[in-house]
C-alpha cells in the first residue's frame, strides 16, 4: 500500500517536486494536492506576458487535469487548509480531516501591503496570481484609466509595463533613489528609468506613500511631499514575505520562513517545505531557479534518497518586452573587489562585472544581455578569469577586435546637425571645410568659425577631424576631466546640456564613464554642472562635494574649521559683533581674524561645535558667509557718499544690494566682487572677478580680474547710468559664467578662453539674452538661496557633525 503524501500549495515549487518525485519513485505515494486558487499549476513567471496581452492563460498552464489524473493526484483546488495536527498527522480543511504520512508545505509567499491609510479600499490590488492579473486587465478595459504602481522592483515594473501595454496611464512610485535597487546599481537603474519614461510610464523615485485617497474606492495616491496621483487602481508591489501562518500555528520552527535543513525537511521529520515559504541557511528566495533546486532535493528526500540543497546563486531578468536587463550575484563594492565597466552611450548599453580574487562575483548588464548566461556561468563556477581579464567584458565572442568606437556617435550625426551653437555651424559645413584642406582645429575655426567662441564644441570638432581625416589627423592631447573618462570638461557640459541629463548616474552613463561611481575629481564637477543647468530637476549631492562645501565651513590643517558669517557689503553693527564675541568666548575659538574681504573669521572651531556656533550666530541674524564656497563670496565696499568727501555714489548700498541678490549662488569657482565709490578705488574693485567703480555719471562695471596666483586687472564690460542696470549686467555676466565655464576656472580664466567680445555680445549688446540670463539666475536662486547654517543647525542635520559614538573611558564614566 502506498504512503500518503499531502501537498499544501499548488504552485511552481510543488509542481516541480511532484514531477521529480513521480520520476524518482513512481507509485510510492498517493498524493493529495491542496491549492487555494481554484485551478491547477501554471507558470506564474509568465503572468507578465498575460497581463500585457502577449500570452493567454491557457498558454501558461503547466499541469492540466489530464496530468494530475494520469499520476493519480487527488486535486483539492480552491479548498483552503486551515490547520495541521502533527501528532495525529492530519490536515484540516472545510471538508474535514485529511491524513498524511508525509506533508509537503509549498505555501509560497504573501504580498506585503504598505499599511498606509486607505490600503484596504476597493481598487488596491496586489500582483501574485491569475485573479490579480485578471483584475488588472479588467481595470485597463476602461478608456483613459489610470494606474499607480507602488514599488519599482521586478514585479512592480512588470505590472507597470503590462498595464501600459493595455493602454493605461501608468505611474510608478518607488521609495528608493533608483529603480530595482536590489538588483541594479545606479547606472543601470538610470537606463531603465529612461527606457520606461520613453514608453510613457511616469516614474517617481524617492516617493514615500502617505495615503491612498478615496471614499468608497481608490481615487488617488498622495505622497509625503504632497504630490497626488489620480488612480483607478493601485497595484502594491513593494515586496513579498514567506507565508508561514500555517506552519507556525502548527508549531513548526519558523524564522522569516519555515526553517528547513539541507534535505528540505522542517523541524518535524515528517514535514518538508519548499519554495518561497522556506528559510534555508538564513536566506529566503523569491525567484524561480532556487525553487527548482529545492524541489529537486525535496523529491529525492521523499523518494528516500540522500540529497542536499546548499543554497542558490540567483540571477534576475526583467520580463518586459524590449528591455534587456540582467543582474546576478553581489555587485556591492567591497574589500578586495574590483570592477570592469563598459558603457556605450549611443546604444544605451551598460555592463559591469565585479571581480574578487580573479573571479566574477557580480554582474549587471543593461541594453545588451546576450552574454548574461556566459557571465553567470563564470560566476557560478567560480572560474578564474585572470587569463582573459582584459577582454572578458566583451563576452565570449570577442575575437581580439577593437573595443567600442568612441567616434561612432559623431560619425552617426546627420549633416545638418548643429555642432557650434554660438556661431550656428552644422556638421556638413565643418566636414566640407576639412575635406577642402582644413587639417586642424585652428584651420576649422578660421574657415567656419566653429568652436571659435565659447569652445564647448571643441571636442566635437576634433572628433569630426578624426572621423573625416582618419589616421592623417594628429589629435592634440585634450585633457580629460579625470581618470574616469576620456572626455574633457567641455564635452561633459555639452552632453549634459544637450541630453537634458538631470542625474549623476545619467551623466556618467551618457558620457561613458569608466568607473561606476566616479572619483573626488569628477564628482564635484558633475554635481556643479547638473545643479547649474537643472537647478530644479537635479538634487544637490552633498557626498559629491568637497569637505568645505559639505560642512559649510573651511577645514584647517588640524581638522578644525573656520567660520565666517556674512556681513552684507562689509557692514556690521554692535549686536552682530557682540554675538560673534560671545561665540568666540563660549567655544574657545583660538583665533579671530579680519579677512581681506571685510569679514570676521573665527578660526579653530571643532566640527561637532559647528551646528551650535551657527545656531547662536543665526539668533543674532547672521547667516553663512559662504567663505568656503565655489560661489559668491564677498562684495567689498568703501563708504561712498554716506561719509566720504570724494564719494560719487552710494557704493555701500550698491554692494549690499548685489550681495543680497546673489548670495547663496553656486558658481564654477569662487566669485569675489567689490564696489568703489570713486576712481580712487579704496575697495580694490579692479582686481576682483567683478568690480564696480562709481563715477559722477554712473557705474563702470568691469570683470575678469584676479589677485591670487595670477594678477590681472579687470576688463571693462560696460558703463551704466543706473544702479539697476549695473546689477543686471553683473547678474547676467555671472549667469553666463555659471552656464559655460569649466569647473574650477575662475572668471578670468574662462574669459581668456571665450574672449571679452563674446561675453559683451551676450551680456551687454543683446538685451533679450541679458534678461534671459538674469531670469535663469533668479530661478536658480529661488531654489538655492537658503541659509545652509540654519538648515544644519536643526537637530536632524546637526547629528551628522557629532561623533557616531563615544567609546572613551571618560564617556563611560
Amino acid at each position: 500500500m502506498s504512503e500518503k503524501l499531502v501537498v499544501i500549495g499548488a504552485g511552481m515549487a510543488s509542481g516541480r517536486v511532484l514531477e521529480e518525485l513521480f520520476e524518482a519513485a513512481p507509485g510510492r505515494y498517493s498524493v493529495t494536492l491542496f491549492g487555494a486558487e481554484p485551478r491547477g499549476n501554471y507558470n506564474r513567471i509568465m503572468l507578465s506576458p498575460v497581463l500585457s496581452g502577449e500570452k493567454t492563460y491557457e498558454e501558461i498552464i503547466t499541469h492540466d487535469a489530464d496530468w494530475y489524473s494520469a499520476h493519480g493526484v487527488t486535486c483539492r483546488f480552491g479548498e483552503r487548509v486551515t490547520g495541521i495536527d502533527r501528532d495525529k498527522k492530519v490536515v484540516f480543511s472545510d471538508a474535514g480531516e485529511t491524513p498524511y504520512d508525509k506533508l509537503l508545505l509549498a505555501t509560497g509567499s504573501d504580498p506585503f501591503i504598505i499599511p498606509a491609510p486607505g490600503h484596504d479600499l476597493p481598487g488596491v490590488l496586489t500582483y501574485r496570481d491569475l485573479d490579480d492579473t485578471n483584475a488588472m486587465i479588467g481595470a485597463a478595459a476602461k478608456p483613459g484609466a489610470k494606474a499607480v504602481v507602488i514599488g519599482g522592483g521586478l514585479l512592480g515594473l512588470e505590472a507597470a509595463a503590462g498595464l501600459k501595454m493595455r493602454g493605461m496611464d501608468v505611474t510608478v512610485l518607488h521609495l528608493m533613489g533608483h529603480l530595482m535597487e536590489r538588483q541594479l546599481d545606479a547606472a543601470a537603474g538610470y537606463l531603465l528609468e529612461k527606457e520606461l519614461k520613453g514608453r510613457g510610464i511616469h516614474v517617481h523615485t524617492r516617493a514615500n506613500t502617505h495615503e491612498i485617497v478615496g471614499s468608497d474606492k481608490v481615487e488617488a495616491v498622495r505622497l509625503d511631499d504632497g504630490t497626488e496621483y489620480e488612480a483607478d487602481i493601485v497595484v502594491m508591489a513593494v515586496g513579498i514575505r514567506p507565508s508561514t501562518g500555517l506552519a507556525s500555528s502548527s508549531g513548526l520552527m519558523c524564522g522569516r520562513g519555515v526553517h528547513v535543513d539541507d534535505a528540505m525537511v522542517s523541524s518535524d521529520e515528517s514535514v518538508l517545505a519548499v519554495g518561497e515559504c522556506v528559510e534555508h541557511r538564513g536566506l529566503c528566495y523569491g525567484l524561480v531557479a532556487p525553487l527548482y533546486d529545492m524541489a529537486k532535493v525535496a523529491a529525492q528526500t521523499l523518494a528516500g534518497h540522500d540529497a542536499a540543497y546548499t543554497g542558490s546563486v540567483t540571477s534576475t531578468k526583467l520580463k518586459v518586452t524590449g528591455v534587456d536587463l540582467f543582474s546576478a550575484g553581489d555587485f556591492a563594492e567591497g574589500e578586495g573587489r574590483e570592477e570592469i565597466v563598459l558603457r556605450d552611450p549611443t546604444r544605451g548599453v551598460y555592463k559591469r562585472l565585479v571581480i574578487e580574487e580573479n573571479k566574477i562575483v557580480g554582474v549587471v548588464l543593461y541594453g545588451d544581455t546576450q552574454d548574461g548566461a556566459w557571465f553567470f556561468g563564470l560566476l557560478k563556477d567560480k572560474t578564474d578569469i585572470a587569463e582573459m581579464r582584459e577582454t572578458v567584458i566583451f563576452g565570449p565572442s570577442f575575437a581580439g577586435g577593437a573595443p567600442v568606437d568612441p567616434m561612432a556617435a559623431v560619425a552617426a550625426l546627420p549633416d545638418d546637425a548643429e555642432i557650434c551653437g554660438c556661431n550656428g555651424v552644422c556638421k556638413g559645413t565643418i566636414v566640407q571645410s576639412i575635406q577642402s584642406g582644413a587639417g586642424d582645429l585652428d584651420a576649422v575655426r578660421g574657415g567656419t568659425k566653429a568652436s571659435s567662441s565659447c569652445g564647448t564644441c571643441t571636442g566635437l570638432v576634433e572628433q569630426l577631424l578624426a572621423v573625416t581625416m582618419g589616421d592623417a589627423y594628429a589629435a592634440p592631447a585634450a585633457k580629460p576631466v579625470c581618470g574616469c573618462t576620456d572626455l574633457t570638461h567641455e564635452d561633459v557640459r555639452r552632453i549634459i546640456k544637450a541630453g537634458k541629463i538631470t542625474s549623476m548616474a545619467g551623466a556618467m552613463q551618457e558620457c561613458g564613464w569608466k568607473t561606476s561611481c566616479g572619483c573626488h575629481i569628477c564628482r564635484p564637477a558633475l554635481n556643479y554642472y547638473l545643479l547649474s543647468d537643472f537647478p530644479d530637476a537635479y538634487r544637490d549631492d552633498p557626498q559629491s562635494r568637497f569637505v568645505n562645501e559639505r560642512n559649510h565651513a573651511n577645514i584647517q590643517k588640524d581638522g578644525t574649521f573656520s567660520v565666517v558669517p556674512r556681513m552684507w557689503g562689509g557692514i556690521t553693527n554692535p549686536k552682530e559683533l557682540r554675538a560673534i564675541a560671545d561665540v568666540a568666548e563660549r567655544f574657545d575659538v583660538p583665533t579671530v581674524k579680519v579677512t581681506g574681504g571685510q569679514r570676521i573669521d573665527l578660526l579653530g572651531v571643532k566640527k561637532e561645535d559647528l551646528p551650535e556656533v551657527w545656531r547662536e550666530l543665526n539668533d543674532a541674524g547672521l547667516v553663512s558667509g559662504h567663505a568656503y564656497a565655489k560661489g559668491l563670496r564677498t562684495v567689498k565696499t568703501c563708504v561712498g557718499t554716506d561719509h566720504c568727501r570724494f564719494g560719487t555714489q552710494d557704493s555701500t548700498g550698491l554692494g549690499i544690494k548685489i550681495e543680497k541678490r546673489m548670495w547663496g549662488s553656486w558658481t564654477p569657482h569662487k566669485v569675489k566682487m567689490a564696489v568703489s565709490g570713486c576712481p580712487r578705488n579704496c575697495a580694490e574693485a579692479t582686481c576682483k572677478d567683478i568690480g564696480v567703480i562709481c563715477v559722477d555719471s554712473g557705474y563702470e562695471v568691469s570683470v575678469a580680474g584676479a589677485a591670487g596666483m595670477d594678477l590681472k586687472q579687470t576688463q571693462p564690460l560696460a558703463k551704466t547710468e543706473t544702479e539697476d542696470e549695473a546689477i543686471d549686467l553683473i547678474v547676467a555676466f555671472t549667469q553666463l559664467y555659471r552656464e559655460n565655464a569649466k569647473y574650477l576656472d575662475r572668471p578670468y580664466r574662462w574669459v581668456e578662453k571665450v574672449g571679452m567680445d563674446w561675453v559683451r555680445a551676450r551680456v551687454v549688446d543683446d538685451l533679450e539674452e541679458r534678461l534671459a540670463l538674469v531670469a535663469r539666475f533668479d530661478f536658480s536662486q529661488s531654489i538655492y538661496q537658503t541659509d545652509p547654517w540654519a538648515e544644519r543647525a536643526e537637530e536632524q542635520q546637526s547629528r551628522q557633525f557629532r561623533p557616531l559614538a563615544d567609546l572613551t573611558l571618560q564617556a563611560a564614566e
Binding site: E333, Q543, S544, V547, I555, P803, L807, A811
Partner: protein, 121 residues
Amino acid sequence: MDQVTPLNRWVEIGRLEDIPKRGARVVKTDAGCVAVFRTFEDAVYALEDRCPHKNGPLSDGIVHGDAVTCPLHNWVISFETGQAQGADEGSVRTFPVKVENGALFLDTGRVLRSASVLSAA
C-alpha cells in the same frame, strides 16, 4: 556567535542609516578617532581617522568606490588595505566593523590593542 576574547570585543556603535551613503561618521575611542565609512552600496569600513600624510580627518573626505580622498591634500586611501594609493606612500590602521540587522558593530578590542602595540613599540 563571536568568541569573546581580549582581542575581539564587538561594541554596537549605531545604525547603518546614521551614516550617509558615500559618507562617514567618527567614533571616539581611547586609542583616537576611528572613521566609519559607508559606501554607495552599503559596505562599511573602519579606519583610523588620520591621514598618514598630515593627519587629515579622512572622515571628511569624498568617498568613491572603496576608497576615500583626504580632504587636506587629496591623498587617496584604500578602505580595504588602509594604504595610500598611487604615488603616495603610507598607511592607516583598519579595524573590523560589521552590520547585523542594520546595527553597526566595531571591534574595539582590536582598536585598543593596536594602540597599545603602538605605544609599546
